[in-house]
């Protein structure tokens, strides 16, 4: 079988891979220590500091690398959490139907009616702000969106004859959800996953920017913006660099998601 990867997907795939590899091996790649003060405040780029230094003289490239590590880790974990919870609940609602479906769906509607960011801020201001707590809050809040999608997709699949055939065979709900519905619902869910991952990156960055996310001295992209935002008025671009990182990551992840979607939607038994 040929594995021809389209150009756009190849670009997306390599950039995404670079980001993840850098995040994974940050301590080996970063030229300096994460919170090490190595120069003057806001030094311009030089051979020693490729991207210059930040507001208290730390190497900006190092901060960006470590920041990416934190941000990508939190976003990935939260996406996984939100998809597992959202998809399972959504499929369950579709399969159960009737009362249970109504109850779950209206509860989710209620959660969704509260702006996510405000809800997160309220929860995080009373809870200890730790990384697991961040992941939990972000993942659960975002799972409402995944629930909506998963339920809608599963309701369509649930009325197909092969699901009816499985019910007539006497199959239990676990088989129906994981063997009949899930494989056929993967394409839209995967496409959505790319999107939601980027929202998570933005979400955690926003929280950090507002001071309720990752706590200093740990680096993360939102935090770097916050620390260096005062430099913008002096024409110092340090605060913009994380934005560039987020934008390139967003585009590349979605290029990959598009490609995966294209490959899986044409019903070729899922292996074409």
């Amino acid at each position: 079988m040929s594995m021809r990867i389209p150009f756009a997907a190849a670009v997306g795939l390599s950039i995404t891979a670079i980001y993840f590899i850098v995040a994974l091996f940050a301590p080996l790649i970063a030229p300096y220590g994460m919170a090490e003060v190595v120069g003057d405040v806001w030094e311009p780029s030089s051979a020693a500091h490729w991207l210059g230094t930040d507001n208290i003289g730390r190497d900006l490239l190092t901060r960006l690398i470590y920041g990416g590590r934190t941000t990508i880790f939190i976003a990935t974990a939260a996406t996984v959490l939100s998809f597992t919870t959202g998809a399972i609940l959504g499929f369950l609602a579709a399969v159960l139907g009737g009362w249970a479906d109504q109850l779950m769906s209206r509860a989710i509607d209620l959660l969704m009616s509260i702006p996510t960011l405000i809800f997160a801020l309220v929860v995080l201001s009373v809870m200890p702000v730790t990384v697991p707590m961040l992941i939990l809050v972000m993942g659960l809040l975002d799972s409402t969106r995944v629930y909506r999608l998963a339920r809608a997709v599963a309701v369509d699949i649930n009325v197909m004859d092969y699901v009816e055939a499985a019910k007539l065979r006497g199959e239990g709900r676990v088989w129906i959800i994981f063997r009949e519905i899930l494989p056929n619902a993967l394409s839209p869910l995967i496409a959505e996953m790319g999107m939601r991952f980027i929202f998570m990156v933005l979400f955690v960055s926003t929280l950090s920017f507002l001071g309720l996310g990752v706590q200093p001295p740990a680096a993360d992209w939102g935090g770097i913006v916050k620390e260096n935002k005062d430099g913008i008025v002096y024409g110092i671009p340090a605060a913009l660099l994380p934005a560039v990182a987020i934008a390139t990551l967003a585009i590349s992840v979605n290029l990959v998601a598009d490609w995966v979607l294209n490959r899986t939607t044409s019903l070729k038994g899922g292996r074409g």
């Binding site: 092969y162 007539l168 065979r169 063997r179 494989p183 070729k268 292996r271």
Partner: protein, 545 residues
């Protein structure tokens, strides 16, 4: 030929194919077909799905459906090659000189616009008629096509008229701009037999009265024999045989044409009823939740072991609902269902695994009855695993045996449903039902989505399996030819009631009740002039009343 209206020369059509697991390929689906059609004549294009008949029909409008492209040849209409006129030429052609009647009128009409607006649109757009003239012409066509209240019919929206009426409205739409050629693409295939005959007669009369030429595309030779002057038989994008209708029906030259003419010739001797019953439906009444209307009214039928009960009726007669009641998907409000001597719980959840195993079901649309993400081995193997606890090599061996029973090689075991043909898919569904070693299989229109020859193969297979395994079938269908082929007893359903029930010979011999008579006389027969005979017979009867 200069006096020909349509002259197709060496037409070649290509398409992009997507073979599973391989990169897309350019293939040729019509290989140099030539034919001519004179003014006022009707040419029938016949063949199985994939024969290229619709593709050729659309080529007369210079059109190729998604991914399909005319790659060679010439299409001359009224003395000019339409493939050379560019988009502007095609626009002047379509809807004015050549018009099209689609298979599904329901999908072809815009639901948000009134019928009159849609029927007259092309004629006004091409400045053939003024609005008033076009509307007068539409009313005239409505009358000619036998539509009720022709003056006000056009004020209705598509959802306000029946399927048969909509198909006739579509014919009016095609005839309104006074075209020279109309392409009919399976115009009656989606209709009930009793409706089909009216639409067919209306179309035939309209063609005759307006003197328009037509390409009539269908897979049903008996239908095309009623309307066409000439017939072209197609297979795999090649012309198999071309001749006058009389010659094709009565003296076919090619082997393939002979097969098409003699299709549905399975003869099956009915078995005598036995005292015991595998299924007993006793005074069952059912309705859907939240409605006050009974879709099943006091139904009582019996099915003997190893025999076939055919449930016949048109859409909406409640025959599929009966299947749902028996399987437990729609618990009956009243009455009881006895299976193999034990009374079945009305609901699915109340039934034992043994009940479920012994009562299997096969669906009409095989492609949605199989999970597209599972291999044939998984699909057939699951009941083995689920009911008999088979695993690994034992299961795989049994799946191979089952594949052999349905006359497919064991090489199919690791294929996905998308890689199978329509007939093969239905065979796999049969194997899945057989895997459970059932006593009764409910077959819900299992052959109606298939080409006649393929359907024949499936029926033969079902009969053989019945002989070997002694399984009983509850066979739901709207097709009386199928019933004749395989039934031992028949129940005719109409509006939720069984109007006639008995052994095959009893039900199919006179005296008939009105509905059974209508149903029986509506089945197209493979002979010329059948349509006129039936219509004349009906006129006489209604005059006699």
């Amino acid at each position: 030929m200069t006096n020909a209206l349509l002259d197709v020369r060496n037409l070649k059509i290509g398409a992009t194919a997507y073979p599973p697991g391989e990169p897309p390929q350019e293939i040729e689906i019509v290989h140099g077909v030539s034919f001519t059609l004179e003014k006022g004549k009707v040419l029938g294009l016949i063949g199985e799905s994939g024969a290229g008949k619709s593709t050729i029909g659309l080529a007369a409008l210079g059109y190729g459906r998604g991914g399909v492209e005319i790659t060679g040849g010439e299409v001359w209409i009224n003395g000019r090659d339409i493939l050379k006129g560019g988009m502007r030429g095609l626009r002047a052609l379509r809807g004015a000189e050549v018009t099209y009647v689609a298979q599904s009128a329901a999908a072809a009409f815009n639901p948000a616009k009134k019928l009159m607006e849609q029927v007259t649109e092309a004629a006004i757009l091409h400045k053939k008629f003024s609005k008033a003239e076009a509307e007068a012409r539409a009313v005239e066509l409505f009358r000619k096509l036998g539509l009720p209240n022709p003056e006000t019919f056009g004020d209705r929206y598509p959802h306000q008229v029946s399927g048969g009426q909509l198909q006739r409205a579509m014919t009016a739409l095609a005839l309104c701009p006074e075209p020279d050629l109309v392409v009919f693409d399976e115009p009656t295939t989606a209709l009930d037999v009793t409706t089909q005959i009216d639409v067919l007669a209306a179309i035939k009369e309209a063609i005759h009265d307006t003197g328009v030429a037509a390409l009539y595309i269908t897979h049903d030779l008996a239908v095309v024999a009623q309307v066409a002057d000439d017939i072209m038989v197609l297979r795999y994008g090649d012309k198999v045989e071309y001749g006058a209708t009389d010659q094709i029906i009565n003296a076919p030259q090619e082997e393939y044409t002979r097969e098409l003419v003699t299709v549905r010739s399975i003869r099956h001797e009915e078995k005598a009823p036995t005292p015991d019953a595998v299924l007993k439906v006793d005074r069952v009444t059912a309705r859907y939740a939240g409605t006050a209307f009974n879709v099943l009214k006091d139904i009582s039928v019996e099915l003997h072991p190893g025999q076939t009960l055919a449930v016949v009726g048109e859409s909406g007669s409640g025959k599929s609902t009966l299947a749902r009641a028996i399987t437990g998907l729609l618990p009956p409000g009243e009455g009881s269902i006895t299976f193999d001597g034990r009374r079945l719980s009305p609901t699915l959840s109340g039934r034992s695994r043994e009940d479920l195993r012994e009562l299997q079901m096969i669906y009409q649309m095989a492609d949605v009855a199989m999970n597209p993400r599972q291999t044939v081995g998984t699909i057939i193997g699951r009941p083995l695993e689920f009911y008999f606890g088979m695993r690994g090599a034992e299961k795989r061996q049994r799946v191979k045996e089952l594949l052999e029973e349905i006359e497919m090689s064991d090489g199919f075991i690791d294929r996905y449903p998308a890689e199978l043909s329509g007939g093969q898919k239905q065979r796999v569904c049969i194997a899945r039902a057989l895997a459970a070693k059932p006593k009764l299989i409910i077959c819900d229109e299992v052959t109606s989505a298939l080409d006649p020859l393929v359907a024949d193969g499936i029926l033969r297979l079902l009969l053989n399996l019945q002989k070997r395994e002694g399984v009983a079938y509850l066979f739901i269908t709207h097709d009386l030819a199928t019933v004749r082929a395989i039934a031992d007893s028949i129940a005719v359903m109409y509006r939720g009631e069984v109007v006639r029930y008995g052994s095959k010979t009893e039900v199919l011999s006179p005296p008939f009740d009105d509905y059974t008579d209508l149903l029986l006389s509506s089945v197209p027969e493979m002979k010329l002039g059948w349509l006129e005979e039936v219509i004349a017979h009906r006129k006489m009867e209604s005059a006699g009343n």
